[in-house]
Symmetry: C2
Subunit: 108 residues, 2 copies
């Protein structure tokens, strides 16, 4: 639950965690089809980063073939654990867009 | 060995595998300092993708602070295993550049 939606602002954002990639693929495809958005952001941290890339690639190759990777950003986040130690974790943001939908909008 | 250099064309490319991130960080920093190139490409496949992002982030935050991520590309590669089955693996290419060196070159 906490992995997927965090309020209105992050409506188009899918947080990738430790579930199998296909659950996130489903979430992204659903967002494109029912969310009415032509842009979906896939976010992940640490080891889930490779799963986020898998998700984006599966969506693009198999389900939403007109989707394109608009932008990929990486950053470092500082996390403090229970013992008070801080550790740095890399994170990724993959922005997927479909060109079709925006073309449809233009033609209206 | 096979992870790091594959001929002249891939001289500026660091292949990230299963070693600790710091070994790849060292390789990237060495490439920037002695390789005479202001562009280094970090490549990884599958689970090593998150390690590649870690490598890029550590280089950028700690060692080559003027380095910037110029471009990140993802793709899918089809691999055939010993049994003849094909499986798809995601891959990433992170292109790091330093602005300083190219400025130095211009001023000469």
């Amino acid at each position: 639950m906490a992995e997927k939606t965090k309020g209105k602002a992050d409506e188009n954002t899918i947080f990738v965690g430790s579930k199998p990639p296909m659950s996130y693929v489903l979430a992204v495809v659903t967002q494109f089809n029912t969310g009415g958005s032509d842009e979906v952001v896939i976010k992940a941290r640490g080891r889930a980063i490779s799963r986020a890339v898998d998700t984006a690639e599966i969506v693009r190759n198999r389900f939403v073939t007109d989707a394109e990777i608009k932008d990929i950003k990486t950053s470092t986040e500082s996390l403090t654990n229970e013992e008070g130690r801080t550790s740095n974790v890399s994170s990724i943001e993959i922005c997927l867009t479909t060109t079709k939908k925006s073309e449809k909008k233009k033609s209206k």
